[in-house]
């Protein structure tokens, strides 16, 4: 925290209410096609303007607060629906609303032929709303609300074209995998209630900052809290072992993949960890766990991306791998590097996805890069945008990916030594290789299918966001340049003034830093060149050896999960349904109605329909009553 807290009240809830209004309007009223997209874009843009206004308050203020209202109270559990904004979150706010606006604009054109546009834009605005709640809430319960909200929107949008069984299944897979992760968030909430007595972020931070109170806690509390939050982050941000949903999430429309599954939602795990950084900073063992999990994710996903043929799948595995980089930075104790990469990745990965969407649109929904080729001439703008995206993600000098990835690699070298650095560098090389593989297969050489021959460039409404994102991808990196280049470290300032100070480690000397930078640059350039040599003439008929099969089939992780987790559950489910449902519940029901039927059948013997027999029975009854009353 900064030394002098300068807390300013600000109307933060308005930023959230604007897209919420868009979600309602589009959800309730049937607007004309295009109009609904433009409405959603306008509201998202207004939220962006408001975010800029709040952002500009920051040199004077250190924290913006909107007290909100008391949502509910149960015992000593208090949930305040309030909002607060720290400097680093305000940057994230700009990304969510700014990149969000560009993607809304793009989607307006992309979805213009879809029959349920209103539903789409309603979901998309609802997503922005939930993401803002997640980012802005001052209380962990509010954060959890947003956390679940983005999960629901992700589910709705992945399964947007639910007529196809495959898409609906992908949505369910994403939702259920995320639920497994959400368990961690709940555990963290329970720990917060039980031991901190509060769930507000600032309340927890005060608790941690007070050495007396922190020492009074059992040793394991903070460890469990941190691990639980990390588990939740694994679910949302697609880390081992819960990353499996993200590649399948590509079943959704491409703007959704760009906004939710690349730029914003998947980074929310990192955002929450950076917000709660003072807790993580004290837990070195947890940071070690985070680092190695992240490193394995980055490597494994990069290996899987090497052989994929679906353009969006390549980008999806690349996203998992890049998220691994961000977590590796957290594991190395450098929240600045992680957040810096969140922002640069949001720019270039949104760009890559939107360009992929443009290519797929031009190819009439053909996603196989082996069937593309030669699109450079036919789609010059998309080609330019994709090239910029590839250059940025591969970390060519002076692009945004260069700065952020270099910072991560340096921090990892400082705190985790040569082994961690070497493995992460390998992942970076693979990144450069598979990205340029997809680039050359898509754009160079000649057309390899009928669709590729007749591909057409997309409309201006789709190209303009691509160009803006290209500019961002090239330039954002200059906001945080290496120390030896000068004093221009905005991201360090933003993150550290929000209370997330890096874990103290030994700083490497400038000479070492130059060498590391040189190694990384040469590595990425060399991998790109290798991809050029291998794929400039089109796809290589792969010798289907063991390693290739392993990568192409994603290391059989889905199959392993299926046979070791899903199958036993299915077995338990089946036997429960047979024993409890069939024999227990159904048996009781069938038994009870059978007993009623038998009683009825017995009684209906006396219902002969003849008046005289009824009268006889009445007489008999009277006699019995008389007998009972008088004889007994």
């Amino acid at each position: 925290m900064t030394d002098v807290l300068n807390i300013v009240e600000a109307p933060l809830s308005w930023i959230i209410l604007l897209p919420a209004a868009g979600a309602l309007l589009n959800g309730l009223f049937r607007l004309k096609p295009m109009l609904n997209g433009l409405l959603a874009t306008t509201l998202c843009f207004s939220a962006f303007i408001l975010s800029i206004l709040q952002f500009l308050k920051f040199p004077e203020a250190s924290k913006l607060v909107d007290p909100g209202y008391l949502w509910f109270q149960a015992g000593h559990v208090k949930a305040q629906m309030g909002f607060e904004l720290t400097p680093f979150m305000s940057v994230m706010l700009l990304i969510i609303t700014g990149v969000g606006t560009l993607i809304h604009l793009y989607a307006t054109s992309y979805m213009s032929h879809d029959k349920s546009q209103a539903r789409f834009f309603s979901y998309l605005n609802l997503f922005v709303t939930s993401m803002l709640v997640l980012a802005l809430s001052s209380d962990l319960i509010g954060v959890f609300l947003g956390w679940e909200g983005v999960g629901v929107c992700s589910y709705l949008l992945i399964g947007f074209w639910f007529e196809e069984d495959k898409n609906a299944r992908a949505g369910m897979k994403a939702f259920i995998t995320n639920r497994v992760g959400d368990l961690g968030f709940l555990v963290a909430l329970f720990v917060a209630f039980a031991y901190f007595g509060t769930s507000s972020v600032s309340g927890i931070m005060e608790w941690i900052a007070d050495p007396g109170r922190a020492a009074a806690l059992p040793v394991w509390v903070l460890t469990v809290f941190a691990l639980a939050i990390f588990w939740a982050a694994c679910g949302k941000s697609a880390q081992i072992p819960l990353y499996i949903w993200l590649p399948d999430a590509m079943a959704g429309p491409t703007p959704v993949s760009a906004l939710i599954h690349a730029a914003t939602m998947v980074t929310s795990g990192i955002l929450v960890i950076v917000r709660l950084w003072p807790i993580f900073a004290t837990q070195t063992e947890v940071l070690t766990v985070i680092f190695w999990v992240a490193l394995s994710t980055a490597l494994l996903a990069a290996l899987m991306a090497l052989t994929q043929r679906d353009l969006k799948k390549v980008l999806a595995y690349s996203t998992v791998s890049q998220l691994g980089f961000m977590f590796a930075a957290l594991g190395a104790g450098a929240p600045t590097a992680a957040f810096f990469h969140v922002v640069t990745h949001a720019c270039f990965k949104a760009l890559l996805f939107l360009t992929a969407g443009s290519v797929i649109h031009g190819m009439h929904d053909e996603k196989d890069i082996f069937k593309m080729g030669g699109l450079r001439k036919k789609m010059p703008w998309s080609h330019l945008a994709y090239l910029v995206g590839c250059v940025a993600i591969a970390g060519f000098p002076f692009t945004s990916g260069f700065f952020s990835k270099d910072l991560i690699l340096t921090k990892v070298f400082e705190s985790r030594g040569v082994l961690g650095y070497g493995l992460l560098l390998l992942a970076a090389m693979l990144t450069s290789f598979y990205m340029f593989r997809s680039y050359f297969l898509t754009f160079s050489s000649t057309a390899r299918s009928h669709e590729a021959e007749h591909a057409h460039e997309s409309s201006a409404m789709m190209i303009v966001p691509l160009m803006l994102l290209s500019l961002l991808s090239l330039l954002v990196g200059w906001l945080e340049i290496p120390h030896m280049w000068g004093h221009l470290q905005y991201f360090s300032h933003w993150v550290e003034s929000s209370g997330a100070k890096a874990v103290e480690g030994h700083e490497v000397e400038a000479a070492t830093e130059w060498i590391l930078m040189g190694i990384a640059t040469v590595a990425s350039l060399a991998s790109a060149f290798f991809a050029y040599v291998k794929y400039k003439k089109g796809p290589v008929t792969s010798s289907e050896n063991f390693a290739w099969k392993l990568s192409f089939n994603k290391f059989y992780v889905d199959e392993i999960y299926d046979s070791f987790i899903l199958k036993p559950f299915r077995k338990i489910g089946t036997s429960l349904s047979v024993w409890i449902d069939e024999y227990g519940v159904n048996g009781t029901l069938h038994g009870s109605f059978a007993s009623y039927r038998i009683t009825g059948q017995l009684a209906s013997i006396f219902h002969t329909g003849s008046v005289q027999s009824y009268a006889l029975l009445m007489l008999l009854g009277l006699l019995i009553v008389w007998g009972v009353v008088n004889v007994w």
Partner: protein, 101 residues
Amino acid sequence: MIAAGQLIFSVAIFLFCFGALTFFTKRSAVVALMGIELMLNGVNLVLVQAGQIYKNAEGTSLVLFVTLVAAAEAALALSIFVILYRKYGTLTLENFRSLKG
């Protein structure tokens, strides 16, 4: 020699039993109705005699009500018989079994 009171009670019981027997055994609806009327008269006789014994008018006045209801009942039943006969062409009780469960 039987006392007059006892004789009247015996006649009443005879009337009731005879009426009940008629109602249970006869196949024609009209005769069954006559059986019901007989039972009613038996009861009326008991009421009147009981009033004589206890020296008050309650029993006797109740008979007036019973007679009234019996008249209404006879009118209703006879008109139902007319309708039944028009519709089914018979008044034999075995033919009317639509209440069978």
